[in-house]
Symmetry: C2
Subunit: 399 residues, 2 copies
Amino acid sequence: MQVFAFDWTAYGENLDHFRTNGEMPRLVRDHFDPSVAFHTYKNHVEAWIELEKQGFDGVAINEHHGTPFGLGNSPNLMAAALSQVTERLKILIYANLLPIHEPLRLAEELAMLDCMTNGRLIAGVGRGAPREYKIFNVPMSESRGRFNEAFEVMRRAWTDDRFSFDGEFYKFDDVSIWPRPMQQPHPPVWVPLTGSKETIEWAAAHDAAITPGIFPGPMREDTIRYFAQCQAKYGRTVDPNKISIMVDCYVADSKDQAVEEYGPHLMYLFNTLLRYDQVWQEDVKKQGYYSSTAFEHLRQGAKGTLAEDDTVFNEWTIDTVRGAAQQMPIGSADEVVERIIAECDDAGANNVLLVCNRGDIPHEMYLNQIRRIGQEVLPRLQAHNVAVVPHAEQRQAAE
Amino acid sequence: MQVFAFDWTAYGENLDHFRTNGEMPRLVRDHFDPSVAFHTYKNHVEAWIELEKQGFDGVAINEHHGTPFGLGNSPNLMAAALSQVTERLKILIYANLLPIHEPLRLAEELAMLDCMTNGRLIAGVGRGAPREYKIFNVPMSESRGRFNEAFEVMRRAWTDDRFSFDGEFYKFDDVSIWPRPMQQPHPPVWVPLTGSKETIEWAAAHDAAITPGIFPGPMREDTIRYFAQCQAKYGRTVDPNKISIMVDCYVADSKDQAVEEYGPHLMYLFNTLLRYDQVWQEDVKKQGYYSSTAFEHLRQGAKGTLAEDDTVFNEWTIDTVRGAAQQMPIGSADEVVERIIAECDDAGANNVLLVCNRGDIPHEMYLNQIRRIGQEVLPRLQAHNVAVVPHAEQRQAAE
């Protein structure tokens, strides 16, 4: 299978000392240390070079705004930075948030990046977290329409010699982009399926590679099942090479050591970074981010989205970490390998996105994890081939 | 003075073999060779590293769309690429075209770049060539209004802890960007003054660094004079450290040799690159790019803009080059130094942007020019200090 490291590029300093009465204020100029940001970018690029050295297949980076959770306001800039210092590593931008982008400019940027990286770009697309809509002042009720139109603009800019477009949100007249993408007809398109039924249908219609669900369990299974059903309408079966899952992992000599070393950083992730300036689920539903039928592909009781999962937004303690770690690829290299392979087999995913630098993990600790995973975990994962998508097969067998 | 190299990053292959009956067709997929684009980016980044080695103060890059004239659809991506392979070179993005950008995203990108480059960013802003408006389907009549609003959004995003904005084109509500710029209060702002009076007034109001006019002569002189008049309203005199001019130069052993070597590339620039898919001046005026008072600061007979200058858009032959070269810094190192210093003294510019890789100049020839200029020209320019702005002084003396 292909192994990527997924790197959120969190601001490199713990910000908890800015809390007042336990609450994190709006982060403004006085809280921002530009030299921390400089080193954050520099260190992460250095880590990505190390990923290439260790033989990882790729790195995944993403887009967030106005938050120390991730400094990739433009992951495209980070991909550009990486283009000149690596030669082989694939760069998965996961994802550019289509509804808050100007799509012609985005098509151009991704074409440039595909050329700058010598065809190493994977173009992830997504709708984005609700809080990004608030920042860019885009109504959540327009999210779906903008997503669909923006991708169509991109696709046509990439593939048509000349194109015009007359949409509700975007209009163009007789445009030919230059440069054009290196990969033909365009860079591979990946999409995370963390919520709506409509995105599953879109992914099937465009034969995109998918990342179904955040966690193993009913939501992921139902997503794969429904995706298979949609793919069948186009005469396609589900291909494990076009499924990826994301897993948090951490390698140490034992589970206890892993929890002790990594736990505080996971706690900072959940208690500070993920909670910062969050838009909560109730508002999201009110504002029309999800359609009325968005979850009808899920069985009764399956959680629809990350934001609905209480474990994510409740206060984490070291005991929460210890409890969660029992079921996670956090511990010895053998356990990490076995758990990741089991989860990939279950999902039918021949691609895995490893997250091993959560929260405010120091640079040296991240580099050490990359080296340790590179030596003790990576070869065994890459040697494993996932050829079957069980939840898709079950659907096909049941028909 | 400070010396920059201005690099348009033209597509690295001569495209004249695609002409049919002498005319260049719309360039589409069949004309595009991705490996040429890959090497164009790679070679230019390599050249910029050489600029740093030679001691240049900076590199200037720019934004163009849908044309082999310049592959920097997003010069910001190229600045990001450069951020990781240089340490000292200033990066002047000249310019991001405000009216066709989403300004909050642009403010974020430039803040990121300022951090990624450890504070080496110079943020050039401009309205852009009329043809870019056609591609992005933005009415030229909105250009001025969008420019003004976009800059205000950027400025407030950079400097205010939280900002809201309620403009005609852009609206935002309670936004705090993160990361924020490294340079305080924000990266230096430069603006080219190649046409309208309104841009001169804007530059004075914002105390921006300016590049007055494309060529020496009445238009440049009148621009500086009017800028000085506007600056006086704010109690400021014109600072040579905040004036730059751009000059085309080429160093060889003699003028004849320079014309012979560089001439064909200048001809390709004028006859092919600059003419490609051009929007002509008549249309520009009709569509409201210029206000009715845009040129009233110019004396009778002064050309207003680059596009009005016939020498630019007429067919060039090697004789045109030879004729032009008599008045240009093209020839021996001594002549190049003398002419550049004379032109900087006349303009009162303590910054110069050297263009020495026009058209389809091969990579090795560009590198050689960088080395030759670096050794024979650069030290003498850097040792020269321009302390007076004659055309501004004349105005002050006349009052």
